[in-house]
């Protein structure tokens, strides 16, 4: 039987504290999620019992640490439904995963005059690496616009696709608006033109379907820390055919086969892309987070979060002067808003004085803020441990702030 979602909150020790003498209401989950005790324990257990440098050592601890590390690769492959664990590369996070592809793919496949397509809904981490790669390679940076509802303009996307397009990089879920992009459709359109797609799954992998074969993504990037795992560990999934063709990104130990003054040859997949001593403890933490998530019925978890989001949207929409951004058909876990006449920064700082943690500002999505002609938003974002009481506290807090600032 799957674990009851309503009991999840008890698994996260950080959530039981008070802030400014009030119970913490943590609604900044799109920035980072909190960690369950099992993840915290997995990291400290590793250092207490198994710490050693992996792969090359032949003593018992090294073998134990290597097995634990490689076990997580299998867990990630299963979680994503990847065809093989060899298609899973451990990185520091989504940003590094995307930089890896931008660098290596750019080196191998992008020539002057070629084109790369990203969307205007991207986080800077799936925007800037492509921008820089285009500069390096003399390629052209194209963007898919979004409409007044906060949804991508797929007609414009189809028109952008042409014989010079080399890659499409797009997020599954917008970190700023919560838009769930029609990723299967985008991948299908790109593949019809024989163009690979990188999917930024940073806001999706913990909330919605994450079957990379079903979505047919060529590359899929995500961070551990937004899915209840530690900071400093992330994943790049890539189809084997791409990993075989791409040159290495970082170089050094672990990733080599033979090293002589004349020639360096590379290790097999996935090690070719994992230079240096990896972040073993946090990879093991990621494994514990996946085990934790696997206790839930994922469809039930998604339905719970969607219902919570609807509840929150309903509460906020009743507050006079409050404007929710995006009129999105399918939204996930993110409530972006402003209140007329109140700067987002002021809202954030005053909600904190009530123990409520939200994010304010541009959320690393300046192109979205520019398109909406705003300097930023207040963003409340959900995780599986949130409940209706958190959203009641948010709505009540916002009303207090309005009374305080609009005297």
């Amino acid at each position: 039987m799957s674990k009851n979602i309503l009991s999840a909150r008890e698994d996260f020790p950080i959530l039981s504290q008070t802030i400014n003498d009030l119970p913490l209401v943590y609604l900044d989950n799109a920035a980072t999620t909190q960690k369950p005790q099992v993840v915290i324990d997995a990291i400290s257990d590793y250092y207490r019992t198994s710490n050693a440098n992996i792969h090359r050592g032949n003593h018992s601890l090294a073998i134990r640490a290597t097995q634990a590390y490689e076990e997580v690769r299998k867990k990630v492959a299963a979680y994503l439904n990847a065809a093989s664990p060899d298609e899973i590369i451990f990185t520091r996070g989504t940003t590094e995963s995307i930089n890896l592809v931008a660098y290596s793919f750019g080196q191998a496949f992008v020539q002057p005059g070629d084109e790369i397509i990203v969307s205007q809904l991207e986080h800077h981490s799936n925007y800037v690496p492509w921008h820089l790669m285009c500069q390096r390679r003399g390629a052209i940076f194209r963007t898919i616009p979004f409409d007044e509802n906060g949804e991508l303009d797929l007609e414009a996307f189809q028109q952008l696709l042409n014989e010079k397009t080399r890659l499409v990089a797009i997020n599954h879920i917008s970190n700023s608006l919560g838009t769930v992009n029609p990723i299967e459709k985008i991948v299908k359109l790109a593949h019809e033109a024989d163009i690979p797609v990188l999917v930024d799954g940073a806001q999706a992998v913990q909330h919605t379907a994450h079957d990379v074969q079903a979505m047919d993504a060529d590359f899929y990037a995500f961070s551990g820390h937004k899915m209840y795992a530690p900071m400093g560990v992330g994943v790049l999934y890539a189809k084997r055919k791409w990993l075989e063709k791409l040159p290495p990104f970082l170089s050094g130990g672990e990733m080599i086969d033979q090293v002589t003054p004349e020639k360096v040859t590379f290790n097999v997949l996935p090690y070719k892309f994992e230079a240096g001593t990896p972040n073993v403890a946090d990879v093991i933490g990621l494994g514990a987070a996946i085990d934790y998530l696997n206790q839930f019925d994922f469809a039930e978890l998604e339905a719970y979060e969607d219902e919570l989001l609807e509840y929150g949207l309903g509460l906020l929409s009743e507050i006079p002067g409050l404007n929710i951004y995006g009129n999105i058909q399918k939204r996930s876990a993110i409530l972006p808003f402003n209140v007329e006449g109140i700067q987002h920064y002021d809202m954030g700082i005053l909600l904190d004085s009530k123990g409520i943690a939200v994010r304010t500002g541009q959320h690393c999505t300046q192109p979205i803020m520019d398109a909406l002609h705003i300097s930023g938003t207040v963003r409340a974002s959900l995780a599986l441990y949130n409940n209706r009481a958190d959203l009641d506290a948010l709505a009540h807090g916002i009303q207090r702030v309005i009374r305080l600032l609009k005297r």
Partner: protein
């Protein structure tokens, strides 16, 4: 015209005022009131080149140096930040540039403006102070 009180004197009086306020919410309410009471900045002066970099909200400073004294007008689109600007205005407007250079931000701890406002980068307090000190250095070089 009576001489402007020293920075230390103004600090003491601000600390006394804030001590009377019971909780964070009251302190912020008072801070916002200070912002409202501050002399309005000419909207024409709110230009890109007068924006202070490093703040989450927009903060404009128009700074002049007159006979070694710092004079400025300032504003922010954030009411909380505007309150912080008002405190800097009370303390530093019309003070000698040397005194502005000596100013540190420990006052904001003493006012009980909790850790956020006094230390969070996004409040831009450090950026604003850096901006004023840079102007003070230029003032002394003249």
């Amino acid at each position: 015209m009576s001489q402007k009180p020293s920075i230390a004197e103004i600090e003491r009086s601000l600390i006394e005022d804030f001590d009377l306020l019971e909780d964070v919410e009251e302190k912020i309410e008072y801070l916002v009131d200070l912002g409202h009471e501050m002399q309005k900045m000419d909207p024409a002066l709110k230009t890109e080149d007068r924006l202070v970099k490093g703040c989450q909200s927009s903060v404009w400073f128009d700074i002049h140096c007159e006979n070694g004294l710092m004079r400025f007008s300032a504003d922010s689109d954030s009411l909380v930040v505007k309150g912080l600007v008002a405190i800097l205005d009370k303390l530093l407007n019309g003070q000698p540039a040397e005194e502005v250079l000596k100013m540190d931000l420990s006052l904001f701890e003493k006012l009980g403006l909790w850790h956020h406002i006094s230390s969070q980068r996004s409040s831009g307090l450090a950026a604003m102070m850096g901006h004023l000190k840079q102007a003070a250095v230029e003032c002394l070089e003249k």
